[in-house]
């Protein structure tokens, strides 16, 4: 019974949990984020990275993976009001931005996000 894992260039393997989130937060790096994005059919641009880095900052600050509402508000505070909109985040990350962004950022699945 194989555990879910992400395979990276040079034969590196990173363990995932049952929801596809990193099993160990310390495994995260830029290469891991790019591979996770590739799984989602996405290519990361500077605009994506701004949000991914911001959500990692949120986790550092509060010890939480943000739900959508908190993420939208926090994005507005730090990246400007025009980006602090759920439509902006959905354009970048798809229909469930809070779940996708936390996954790409190597954070646990937001506990209170449905």
């Amino acid at each position: 019974m194989g555990r879910p894992a992400l395979t990276l260039p040079h034969g590196r393997h990173v363990a995932l949990d049952k929801d596809g989130y990193l099993a160990r937060l310390s495994d995260w790096d830029i290469e891991v984020a790019a591979a996770l994005a590739h799984q989602e059919g996405m290519t990361l641009t500077p605009a994506h990275w701004d949000v991914i880095n911001l959500v990692r900052q949120f986790y550092q600050e509060f010890g939480l993976s943000p739900a959508t509402r908190a993420l939208v508000k926090y994005t507005g505070q730090h990246l400007g009001a025009e980006k602090g909109k759920s439509l902006y985040l959905m354009t970048l990350f798809g229909g469930k931005p809070a779940l996708t962004i936390s996954r790409l950022a190597g954070l646990p699945r937001p506990a209170n996000c449905f």
Partner: protein, 118 residues
Amino acid sequence: MKTLTFLARSGPYGSSKAKALLDMVLSAAVFEQKIQYIFLDDGVYQLLSDQDSAQLGAKNVSAALPALDLYGVDRIYLDTESLQARGLQSRQLLIPAQPCNSDEIRSLIADSDMVFSL
């Protein structure tokens, strides 16, 4: 919109109750209900600034409190009698909470559609 009241009555690290109630509050916030978060009894210890749980190998429960505003949880209350009984002062608190006496807390509870206590 329902009024949901959460009574935080436990200290931050003696059990997982403080963290469990906080998770319930954050989950309820997603549904955009009217949420009242009331700290009383040993729950007032959850609000103290400068908590450092690294030696316990536990997550700092208080770190999430400043995020409540981002979740739209802005009705935060504090039982002044509980604070005084423990020799604590409101200037030691990490986030602003509206001080209440027992009468005020009773009426907050009476106005609730649901009350959770941990």
